[in-house]
Amino acid sequence: MKKIMVVDDSLLIRVNLKKIFVQQGYEIIAEAANGQEAVEKYSQYKPDLVTMDITMPVMDGISALQQICAIDKNACVVMISALGQELKIIEALNAGAKHYILKPFKEADVINKINNVLAAAEETSNDYAGI
């Protein structure tokens, strides 16, 4: 079962995302309300995928993403963003994020993107194993 960590300072967003992921049969291994917490918990729980809000107190999502990618260059991080944050998302993609999800969510969109990112990650790790 794939393990997901949900990072968002909004409780509502976390609750809604968890609901969607659990329905899809994923395990919510951890959640964090800011970037710093996310970095700490990433090392501790080694999730298969992280959903990362961009704007958060203490440490924002992009800084957290950079630190997580420094720990694990194959980290699967999907950014959560509001409308109009395109430049931030591009910055995140350049820093190693795999995809993004726009708020407010459409459930089908969330599921589709998360499944795609996880499938692509599996393919890459199989390639490594094959070599």
Binding site: S10, L11, L12, I13, V15, E86, L87, I89, I90, L93, N94, A97, K98, H99, Y100, V117, A120
Partner: protein, 656 residues
């Protein structure tokens, strides 16, 4: 097909190739020897006569038999040396002479010598002869071969040409087909590489969309003017990252981030971006779709939905709607003047503004969305007039009213109703529906011994027939709440109506019942928190709006409590607003306790919401409720607790 072998035949070549050996006879031999040679070798055309291996003459078969055939020929030549028979005027050539030269010379000889052998020398020595007959045969053979080769080549060329034509036609057809497909597709196609220059191979539809040729344009320059100014940097950064990085996973994500819809020359255009790769070079294909029709269809669907709501309301609330329209039309076609008879112009204006605002809400409640939008617009104009003009007068009001035609405001919604329900909807006189039990009750009463005899009681009994339970009117707000929730993106609260059954006179209560719209609007908009806030405060997802009806017969009144479990009224903010709007002085406000401060909500021109929208927030609604209550001899109170909610307590005179 077998290709005939082509012997290199060169008309400029040497004649050596045609030289043959023929019988040679010494000049001293007798004629008989020549006859023997010709008899024995029927193929032989002629004999060379030599002296010391050197040709001195030539006897050709035709000439020999001609001479033998003459009278005494046989006896004359048979036993005598051949030298008297032979032809000494012979044509000779060198082996190195070229074929055409020898050919021409040979053919220019006298007719009777045309087929004589040509004597060939090689290095001045006798090498043989050329038989003109064989020469011609060989030549024609070679020519045949050449012709065959040429013919074959021609055939091949023809086939090749035909094939080429077919292929070219096919190719033309195919590229035409693709081009056709591109050009006649409902979508425009264009592409560009890392220099962001639009390639010249774009489809016809692009010209139609941009109204110009677009090849060679810088893509961002071409399109950024159709988007908000801040989107330009999104295009720049996204394409920059797209062409710098190379990952099948994220490449498409960059493209997804690009703004996807805009208006170009009056059409709504949707942009789809696709990553394409050829010869290891990445480029971007842009597919442009004209979605103008789709958008107008969506709009039409939304309008249809509103229309349905309107029709359902029109069907179920006919009486209220008719009354509302009648009163609104009255007000806007002169009725407003009655409001301005009072001495206090300011107060009259407020009253008028309140009325207008209430109608906006009422029309929205009954699904008259177009009318509501018109009235909102009218309100805006009125507000602008307030701001522009220092001292408003009756004349200003009359001017603005002369431009507001109630017929225009209502036209679209009314015709939507009559279209379906028929013109008679508004013409028909009002029909009162009376529940069966009420008639049964009355019958029973008459049947019993206690028949009321006084006129007043009888009149009251008849009046009672048209009375209705207040709950029926409250239930009608359920749909309005649903409508508000959709607009405000909040979960629909649990709507509860409880308590005593109170029968009210619909005519008498119509203003008050309609003004309740402001309470519900306030509760949904200001009271009930956003979904997010409710979750964070640990409140249930769905809020509660509760209507409680309680009779107090000993006090000759009944109470309607409408409460919500929202955030309560921000009294601090309310006081500041009151100060800003000069409703109370700072000193007054400082002395106020909470319950007094809460009452400020009933003051005119006051709202705690910063921006007015079509729904609420202009701060006049609650004043209208208070006024309607007071007209019925009732009162209105408010209780509010931060984080817990607000209760409006309306009290109305009531007796059985």
């Amino acid at each position: 097909m077998i290709t005939p072998e082509f012997k290199d035949f060169d008309s400029e070549g040497k004649i050596l190739q045609f030289v043959i050996q023929v019988p040679a006879v010494s000049s001293k031999a007798e004629g008989q020897a020549i006859k023997d040679i010709f008899d024995q070798n029927p193929e032989t055309e002629g004999v060379v006569i030599t002296e010391n291996n050197h040709p001195v003459g030539l006897i050709m078969r035709t000439m020999f038999y001609q001479k033998m055939g003459t009278m005494y020929g046989h006896s004359l030549y048979m036993k005598r040396p051949v030298s008297i028979l032979m032809e000494t005027d012979m044509m000779s050539a060198d082996a190195t002479d070229n074929v055409s030269k020898v050919g021409i010379l040979a053919m220019s000889r006298e007719q009777n010598k045309l087929y004589d052998y040509v004597i060939v020398y090689k290095n001045k020595a006798y090498a043989g002869v050329i038989s003109i007959r064989l020469f011609l045969v060989e030549l024609s053979k070679i020519n045949d071969a050449q012709i065959n080769v040429l013919k074959h080549q021609q055939k091949e060329l023809l086939t090749a040409h035909e094939q080429e034509v077919v292929l070219r036609k096919d190719l033309e057809y195919k590229s035409d087909a693709v081009r056709n497909l591109f050009d006649h597709a409902e979508q425009g196609f264009l592409s560009f590489g890392s220099d962001l220059t639009v390639k010249n191979e774009y489809s016809y539809k692009c010209i139609e969309i941009f109204n110009q040729n677009i090849g060679g344009f810088h893509y961002i320059d071409l399109i950024s003017r159709y988007f908000d100014a801040d989107k330009k940097s999104v295009f720049e950064t996204a394409f920059d990252s797209f062409f710098k990085n190379n990952s099948m996973v994220t490449d498409n994500v960059y493209l997804m981030l690009l703004p996807a819809e805009c208006e170009i020359n009056g059409k709504n255009i949707r942009f789809d971006y696709k990553r394409i790769e050829s010869n290891g070079k990445k480029s971007v294909m842009v597919i442009l779709s004209d979605v103008t029709e789709l958008i107008s269809m969506e709009k039409a669907m939304e309008e249809d939905k509103n229309k349905q709501r309107l029709l359902i309301k029109a069907f179920t609330c006919q009486a209220q709607i008719k009354q509302m329209i009648e009163e609104f039309t009255d007000l806007f076609s002169g009725g407003y003047k009655l409001m301005f008879i009072k001495n206090n112009f300011e107060e009259s204006l407020n009253e008028f503004f309140r009325a207008v605002h209430t109608y906006k809400g009422d029309f929205a409640q009954y699904g008259f969305m177009t009318a509501s939008a018109h009235i909102h617009h009218f309100e805006e104009e009125l507000l602008q007039l307030f701001e522009r003009t220092d001292k408003l007068t009756n004349l200003d009001v009359e001017r603005i009213m002369s431009e507001a035609d109630p017929k225009n405001i209502l036209e679209a919604d009314l015709s939507a109703i009559t279209e379906v329900l028929g013109e008679s909807y508004f013409g028909e006189s009002e029909i009162i529906t009376i529940p069966k039990y009420k008639l049964e009750q009355m019958k029973e009463q008459f049947a019993s011994e206690q028949i009321p005899t006084d006129k007043n009681t009888l009149m009251k009994m008849i009046d009672n027939l048209k009375y209705k339970n207040i709950k029926i009117y409250l239930e009608q707000y359920q749909d309005y709440l649903k409508y508000l929730c959709e607009r405000l993106m909040k979960y629909m609260p649990t709507y509860i109506i409880e308590g005593d059954d109170v029968e009210i006179d619909p005519d008498q209560y119509s203003d008050a019942l309609k003004s309740l719209v402001h309470i519900f609007r306030n509760s949904m908009d200001h009271g009930i928190e956003t979904n997010e806030e409710r979750l964070e405060y640990g409140k249930p997802e769905r809020g509660i709006i509760h209507c409680q009806i309680q009779k107090y017969l000993d006090e000759n009144r009944f109470e309607l409590r409408i409460s919500d479990d929202g955030r309560g009224i921000d009294l601090h903010k309310l006081k500041i607003k009151a100060l800003d709007n000069n409703i109370r002085s700072a000193d007054d406000l400082n002395l106020m306790d909470d319950s007094e401060a809460a009452k400020l909500i009933f003051a005119d021109h006051l709202s705690t919401k910063d921006n007015a929208d079509a729904l609420s927030g202009r701060g006049i609604g609650m004043g209208a409720v208070k006024e309607a209550c007071m007209k019925l001899g009732g009162t209105i109170e408010i209780e509010t607790k931060p984080g817990e909610g607000t209760i409006f307590i309306l009290s109305f005179p009531y007796s059985v």
